[in-house]
Protein backbone atom coordinates (compact mmCIF):
# COMPACT_ATOMS: atom_id res chain seq x y z
CA UNK A 1 0.00 0.00 0.00
CA UNK A 2 2.72 2.45 1.01
CA UNK A 3 4.65 1.54 -2.08
CA UNK A 4 1.67 2.39 -4.30
CA UNK A 5 1.22 5.82 -2.69
CA UNK A 6 4.93 6.44 -2.98
CA UNK A 7 4.97 5.51 -6.64
CA UNK A 8 1.99 7.78 -7.35
CA UNK A 9 3.77 10.67 -5.60
CA UNK A 10 6.93 10.04 -7.60
CA UNK A 11 4.95 9.97 -10.86
CA UNK A 12 3.25 13.27 -10.01
CA UNK A 13 6.65 14.72 -9.19
CA UNK A 14 8.12 13.67 -12.50
CA UNK A 15 5.10 15.14 -14.28
CA UNK A 16 5.61 18.51 -12.55
CA UNK A 17 9.30 18.43 -13.42
CA UNK A 18 8.30 17.90 -17.04
CA UNK A 19 5.95 20.92 -16.93
CA UNK A 20 8.73 23.00 -15.45
CA UNK A 21 11.09 22.07 -18.25
CA UNK A 22 8.39 22.77 -20.86
CA UNK A 23 7.96 26.20 -19.33
CA UNK A 24 11.70 26.73 -19.54
CA UNK A 25 11.42 26.27 -23.31
CA UNK A 26 8.15 28.10 -23.94
CA UNK A 27 8.31 31.28 -21.85
CA UNK A 28 9.73 34.40 -23.50
CA UNK A 29 12.33 35.86 -21.10
CA UNK A 30 14.67 35.07 -18.22
CA UNK A 31 12.28 36.05 -15.44
CA UNK A 32 9.30 34.06 -16.70
CA UNK A 33 11.55 31.08 -17.25
CA UNK A 34 12.79 31.35 -13.71
CA UNK A 35 9.17 31.24 -12.53
CA UNK A 36 8.57 27.87 -14.08
CA UNK A 37 12.04 26.62 -13.20
CA UNK A 38 11.66 27.39 -9.49
CA UNK A 39 8.03 26.56 -8.87
CA UNK A 40 7.29 23.51 -10.93
CA UNK A 41 10.69 21.91 -10.60
CA UNK A 42 10.87 22.48 -6.85
CA UNK A 43 7.44 21.03 -6.19
CA UNK A 44 8.17 18.16 -8.53
CA UNK A 45 11.34 17.33 -6.66
CA UNK A 46 9.53 17.65 -3.31
CA UNK A 47 6.96 15.15 -4.55
CA UNK A 48 9.69 12.72 -5.57
CA UNK A 49 11.39 13.05 -2.17
CA UNK A 50 8.07 12.62 -0.37
CA UNK A 51 7.38 9.55 -2.44
CA UNK A 52 10.72 8.11 -1.41
CA UNK A 53 9.89 8.87 2.21
CA UNK A 54 6.51 7.16 1.94
CA UNK A 55 8.10 4.11 0.33
CA UNK A 56 10.82 3.65 2.92
CA UNK A 57 9.25 5.09 6.09
CA UNK A 58 11.40 6.19 9.02
CA UNK A 59 14.56 4.49 7.88
CA UNK A 60 17.93 5.95 6.95
CA UNK A 61 16.86 6.70 3.37
CA UNK A 62 13.41 8.05 4.22
CA UNK A 63 14.61 10.52 6.84
CA UNK A 64 17.33 11.82 4.53
CA UNK A 65 14.74 12.41 1.81
CA UNK A 66 12.51 14.21 4.31
CA UNK A 67 15.16 16.64 5.55
CA UNK A 68 16.26 17.35 2.01
CA UNK A 69 12.92 19.12 1.49
CA UNK A 70 13.63 22.24 3.61
CA UNK A 71 17.19 22.38 2.29
CA UNK A 72 15.84 22.34 -1.26
CA UNK A 73 13.32 25.04 -0.35
CA UNK A 74 16.04 27.44 0.78
CA UNK A 75 18.42 26.56 -2.05
CA UNK A 76 15.82 26.97 -4.81
CA UNK A 77 14.34 30.23 -3.57
CA UNK A 78 17.67 31.90 -2.85
CA UNK A 79 19.03 30.77 -6.23
CA UNK A 80 15.97 32.14 -8.05
CA UNK A 81 16.28 35.47 -6.25
CA UNK A 82 19.96 35.88 -6.99
CA UNK A 83 19.59 34.81 -10.62
CA UNK A 84 16.76 37.29 -11.18
CA UNK A 85 18.65 40.10 -9.49
CA UNK A 86 21.90 39.28 -11.26
CA UNK A 87 20.18 39.13 -14.66
CA UNK A 88 18.53 42.48 -14.09
CA UNK A 89 21.72 44.19 -12.99
CA UNK A 90 23.61 42.67 -15.89
CA UNK A 91 21.18 44.38 -18.22
CA UNK A 92 18.54 41.88 -19.34
CA UNK A 93 15.35 43.89 -19.62
CA UNK A 94 11.86 42.48 -19.25
CA UNK A 95 9.92 41.00 -22.12
CA UNK A 96 8.68 43.63 -24.58
CA UNK A 97 5.00 43.13 -23.73
CA UNK A 98 5.45 43.41 -19.96
CA UNK A 99 2.92 45.43 -18.02
CA UNK A 100 4.91 47.43 -15.45
CA UNK A 101 8.51 47.73 -14.35
CA UNK A 102 8.98 49.60 -11.10
CA UNK A 103 12.43 48.20 -10.52
CA UNK A 104 14.07 50.08 -13.39
CA UNK A 105 14.08 53.43 -11.58
CA UNK A 106 15.54 51.87 -8.47
CA UNK A 107 18.36 50.19 -10.39
CA UNK A 108 19.23 53.43 -12.16
CA UNK A 109 19.37 55.21 -8.82
CA UNK A 110 21.56 52.48 -7.38
CA UNK A 111 23.97 52.62 -10.29
CA UNK A 112 24.08 56.39 -10.13
CA UNK A 113 24.89 56.17 -6.42
CA UNK A 114 27.48 53.44 -6.92
CA UNK A 115 29.70 55.16 -9.48
CA UNK A 116 29.13 58.67 -8.23
CA UNK A 117 32.81 59.58 -8.27
CA UNK A 118 33.50 57.84 -11.57
CA UNK A 119 30.38 59.38 -13.08
CA UNK A 120 31.58 62.86 -12.12
CA UNK A 121 34.98 62.20 -13.68
CA UNK A 122 33.55 60.80 -16.93
CA UNK A 123 31.03 63.63 -17.02
CA UNK A 124 33.91 66.10 -16.99
CA UNK A 125 35.68 64.16 -19.70
CA UNK A 126 32.64 64.07 -21.98
CA UNK A 127 32.01 67.75 -21.25
CA UNK A 128 35.50 68.75 -22.33
CA UNK A 129 35.33 66.50 -25.37
Amino acid sequence: MNETIGLILISVGVLFDLFGCLGLVRFPDVYNRLQSATKCVTLGTWCILLGVFVCYGFTEIGVKALISIPLLFFAATVAAHSLARGAYHYGFRLWGKSAVDEYEKEVKQMEAGMDNTEGAASGDASGSA
Binding site: P28, K64, T77, H81
Partner: protein, 161 residues
Protein backbone atom coordinates in the same frame (compact mmCIF):
# COMPACT_ATOMS: atom_id res chain seq x y z
CA UNK B 1 24.36 30.77 24.67
CA UNK B 2 23.66 31.57 21.04
CA UNK B 3 26.65 29.51 19.96
CA UNK B 4 25.51 26.63 22.11
CA UNK B 5 22.03 26.63 20.53
CA UNK B 6 23.59 26.66 17.08
CA UNK B 7 25.81 23.74 18.02
CA UNK B 8 22.83 21.73 19.27
CA UNK B 9 20.90 22.43 16.05
CA UNK B 10 23.81 21.32 13.88
CA UNK B 11 24.32 18.22 15.96
CA UNK B 12 20.64 17.31 15.62
CA UNK B 13 20.87 17.75 11.85
CA UNK B 14 23.96 15.56 11.76
CA UNK B 15 22.23 12.82 13.75
CA UNK B 16 19.27 12.90 11.39
CA UNK B 17 21.54 12.71 8.36
CA UNK B 18 23.73 9.85 9.54
CA UNK B 19 20.85 8.14 11.39
CA UNK B 20 22.96 6.03 13.74
CA UNK B 21 24.29 6.60 17.23
CA UNK B 22 27.79 5.20 17.50
CA UNK B 23 30.94 6.60 19.03
CA UNK B 24 32.79 7.28 15.77
CA UNK B 25 29.97 9.07 13.99
CA UNK B 26 29.24 11.11 17.14
CA UNK B 27 32.89 12.22 17.37
CA UNK B 28 33.07 13.22 13.70
CA UNK B 29 29.74 15.04 14.00
CA UNK B 30 30.87 16.86 17.12
CA UNK B 31 34.07 18.05 15.49
CA UNK B 32 32.26 19.21 12.33
CA UNK B 33 29.57 21.01 14.33
CA UNK B 34 32.20 22.70 16.52
CA UNK B 35 34.20 23.94 13.53
CA UNK B 36 31.05 25.19 11.79
CA UNK B 37 29.92 26.94 14.97
CA UNK B 38 33.31 28.61 15.35
CA UNK B 39 33.23 29.94 11.78
CA UNK B 40 29.57 30.74 11.18
CA UNK B 41 28.24 31.17 14.72
CA UNK B 42 28.36 34.94 14.52
CA UNK B 43 25.79 34.90 11.70
CA UNK B 44 23.26 32.97 13.78
CA UNK B 45 21.24 36.00 14.85
CA UNK B 46 18.38 34.33 16.70
CA UNK B 47 17.47 35.12 20.27
CA UNK B 48 17.65 31.82 22.10
CA UNK B 49 14.66 32.67 24.28
CA UNK B 50 12.50 32.78 21.15
CA UNK B 51 13.47 29.23 20.25
CA UNK B 52 11.80 27.97 23.41
CA UNK B 53 8.37 29.58 23.07
CA UNK B 54 5.80 26.94 22.05
CA UNK B 55 3.36 29.45 20.53
CA UNK B 56 5.85 30.11 17.73
CA UNK B 57 5.95 26.42 16.86
CA UNK B 58 2.18 26.28 16.80
CA UNK B 59 2.02 29.14 14.30
CA UNK B 60 4.84 27.60 12.28
CA UNK B 61 2.89 24.35 12.09
CA UNK B 62 -0.24 26.16 10.93
CA UNK B 63 1.84 28.16 8.47
CA UNK B 64 3.23 24.96 6.99
CA UNK B 65 -0.24 23.85 5.91
CA UNK B 66 -1.25 27.21 4.47
CA UNK B 67 2.06 27.41 2.68
CA UNK B 68 1.70 23.91 1.21
CA UNK B 69 -1.74 24.76 -0.11
CA UNK B 70 -0.53 28.00 -1.69
CA UNK B 71 2.45 26.19 -3.15
CA UNK B 72 0.25 23.56 -4.75
CA UNK B 73 -1.98 26.27 -6.20
CA UNK B 74 1.11 28.03 -7.54
CA UNK B 75 2.21 24.93 -9.35
CA UNK B 76 -1.14 24.21 -10.92
CA UNK B 77 -1.25 27.85 -12.00
CA UNK B 78 2.17 27.74 -13.64
CA UNK B 79 1.45 24.35 -15.21
CA UNK B 80 -1.76 25.80 -16.69
CA UNK B 81 0.13 28.74 -18.14
CA UNK B 82 2.79 26.45 -19.58
CA UNK B 83 0.33 24.10 -21.23
CA UNK B 84 -2.09 26.74 -22.55
CA UNK B 85 -1.45 27.16 -26.29
CA UNK B 86 -1.73 30.98 -26.14
CA UNK B 87 0.64 31.40 -23.17
CA UNK B 88 -1.57 33.72 -21.04
CA UNK B 89 1.09 35.82 -19.33
CA UNK B 90 1.32 39.52 -18.58
CA UNK B 91 4.54 39.92 -16.60
CA UNK B 92 5.91 42.90 -14.74
CA UNK B 93 7.85 43.97 -11.67
CA UNK B 94 5.90 45.55 -8.84
CA UNK B 95 7.01 47.24 -5.63
CA UNK B 96 5.52 46.45 -2.23
CA UNK B 97 6.10 47.98 1.16
CA UNK B 98 7.25 45.61 3.88
CA UNK B 99 5.76 45.60 7.36
CA UNK B 100 8.27 43.21 8.88
CA UNK B 101 11.39 44.46 10.63
CA UNK B 102 13.53 41.44 11.52
CA UNK B 103 15.98 40.12 8.94
CA UNK B 104 15.02 36.48 9.30
CA UNK B 105 11.32 37.33 8.96
CA UNK B 106 12.04 39.24 5.77
CA UNK B 107 14.06 36.40 4.36
CA UNK B 108 11.28 33.93 5.08
CA UNK B 109 8.66 36.23 3.56
CA UNK B 110 10.77 36.62 0.42
CA UNK B 111 11.25 32.87 0.16
CA UNK B 112 7.53 32.24 0.66
CA UNK B 113 6.65 34.77 -2.01
CA UNK B 114 9.01 33.08 -4.43
CA UNK B 115 7.23 29.77 -3.94
CA UNK B 116 3.66 31.11 -4.36
CA UNK B 117 1.51 31.79 -7.44
CA UNK B 118 3.34 33.63 -10.19
CA UNK B 119 5.67 35.70 -8.06
CA UNK B 120 9.45 35.84 -7.63
CA UNK B 121 11.30 38.13 -5.27
CA UNK B 122 13.85 40.12 -7.24
CA UNK B 123 15.30 42.44 -4.62
CA UNK B 124 14.79 44.10 -1.26
CA UNK B 125 15.79 47.77 -1.04
CA UNK B 126 15.37 49.27 2.41
CA UNK B 127 11.65 48.94 3.17
CA UNK B 128 10.44 47.86 -0.25
CA UNK B 129 10.39 44.48 -1.87
CA UNK B 130 10.46 44.11 -5.65
CA UNK B 131 8.49 41.24 -7.08
CA UNK B 132 8.34 39.82 -10.56
CA UNK B 133 4.75 38.86 -11.18
CA UNK B 134 3.78 36.62 -14.07
CA UNK B 135 0.25 37.92 -14.49
CA UNK B 136 -0.19 41.55 -13.43
CA UNK B 137 -3.95 41.81 -12.95
CA UNK B 138 -4.03 45.25 -11.30
CA UNK B 139 -1.69 48.19 -10.89
CA UNK B 140 -3.22 49.47 -7.66
CA UNK B 141 -0.55 49.11 -4.92
CA UNK B 142 -3.11 48.49 -2.15
CA UNK B 143 -4.77 45.64 -3.96
CA UNK B 144 -1.71 43.75 -5.08
CA UNK B 145 0.11 44.20 -1.75
CA UNK B 146 -2.78 42.43 -0.12
CA UNK B 147 -2.93 39.81 -2.81
CA UNK B 148 0.76 38.91 -2.65
CA UNK B 149 1.89 39.52 0.93
CA UNK B 150 -1.32 39.62 2.91
CA UNK B 151 -1.66 35.88 3.35
CA UNK B 152 1.74 35.44 4.94
CA UNK B 153 2.60 38.61 6.79
CA UNK B 154 0.53 37.97 9.90
CA UNK B 155 1.86 34.45 10.31
CA UNK B 156 5.47 35.43 9.70
CA UNK B 157 5.19 38.19 12.26
CA UNK B 158 3.83 35.77 14.84
CA UNK B 159 6.55 33.22 14.13
CA UNK B 160 9.64 35.38 13.90
CA UNK B 161 8.96 38.53 15.94
Amino acid sequence: MRYFAFFILLMGLWLLFTFRVEADSLIVGGICAAVTTAIFGKYFQVRVRCLLEPARYFWAFLYLFIFSWECLKANLDVAYRVLHPKLPINPGIVKIKLNIQSDIGRAMLANSITMTPGTITVDIVEDHIFIHWIYVSTTDPEVYSKKICGRFETYIRRIFE
